[in-house]
């Protein structure tokens, strides 16, 4: 059985579902052109060209990319919640990186969990230890359970306020569930750090909607 075919079909469905085109579908289209999706599982993750479009996660916020290991909160840097990156934001808006559902929205508006149609789940956590602000400086633009489209504003935050209050405004973006549906019994559903590739060099900058993370195929890690 080829999972590639199933995933490709899903990607095509997602790309051509007739909804208003996301503002980075342009990027995705460009990627589709050059390479057959079959090449993506061949275990050579170095080049962006080897990844199928549904394995890209775009940046939900603009700023400077920080390796997860350098995020100053062990809950994130240890990878216990999932793999991903930090972004030191230069803006104050968090946007949906894909069409999906708001699976979780913290009452304080500082963290949001999104689920894509293929099951991939993403946690976006704004700032370090900002749960202690109890919502001050955060404004959620969506509700839990809402369907969102690529580019929709999810959270607005006051970066200056966070900094003034002594909080590190690093936005942590974690893949908490990989795209494949996996048996419930498997531990955590977490990706290893070998399974994702950052689209930028450490300290590189991204704009909202720029490619941020690429996921390797699980087959490739054997």
């Amino acid at each position: 059985m080829s999972t590639d075919h199933r995933e490709t079909a899903e990607a095509e469905k997602a790309a051509g579902n007739g909804k208003k085109p996301g503002f980075f579908s342009r990027i995705i289209k460009k990627k589709e052109k050059g390479e057959p999706p079959e090449a993506a599982g061949s275990g050579q993750p170095d080049s962006a060209h080897r990844h199928t479009p549904d394995r890209t996660v775009s940046a939900p916020v603009s700023g400077r990319v920080i390796p997860l290991s350098q995020v100053p909160d062990e809950a994130f840097s240890s990878g216990v919640l999932g793999q991903g990156v930090g972004i030191m934001p230069d803006g104050e808006t968090v946007c949906a990186p894909f069409d999906g559902t708001v699976d979780m929205l913290s009452g304080t508006g500082h963290a949001i969990g999104l689920r894509r149609g293929d099951g991939m789940s993403l946690l976006i956590h704004v700032g370090i230890d900002t749960v202690r602000l109890n919502g001050q400086g955060f404004q959620a633009a969506v509700k839990e359970g809402a369907r969102v489209q690529t580019g929709d504003t999810l959270i607005r935050f006051d970066r200056t306020f966070l900094t003034q209050e002594g909080y590190d405004p690093t936005v942590v973006i974690l893949i908490t569930e990989p795209p494949e549906s996996r048996p419930e019994s498997l531990p955590a559903g977490l990706l290893s750090d070998q399974e994702i590739t950052c689209a930028t060099e450490p300290d590189g900058t991204v704009g909202i909607g720029d490619p941020l993370l690429y996921l390797r195929h699980r087959e490739a890690q054997a």
Partner: protein, 85 residues
């Protein structure tokens, strides 16, 4: 089925960090783990479900474990709550 009740003492409740650790602990066991708060219930093995429960300091939660290793799971989770929450 094994269950226990616990009143949260952590001042910010079950936010990302403890939720992640709790999920990891719950996933060590084959038993189903459910966390109840008021009339809401979350799968203790799912991060978003647990975070969405919005458990705060002073809230009482009921933890239910059901399955082959429910005794062990309930014991381990009880220790987890006492130490971390």
């Amino acid at each position: 089925m094994k269950e226990f009740k616990y009143v949260i003492r952590d001042e910010v409740g079950i936010h990302a960090r403890p939720a992640g650790l709790l999920v990891k602990e719950a996933q060590r066991f084959s038993s189903a783990v459910q966390i109840h708060r008021g009339d809401r219930t979350a799968d203790g093995k799912k991060l978003f479900a647990l975070m969405a429960l919005g458990v705060k300091c002073g809230d009482e939660v009921t933890v239910q474990c059901q399955g082959e290793d429910e005794d062990e799971a309930a014991r381990a989770l009880q220790v987890f709550f006492r130490d971390k929450l």
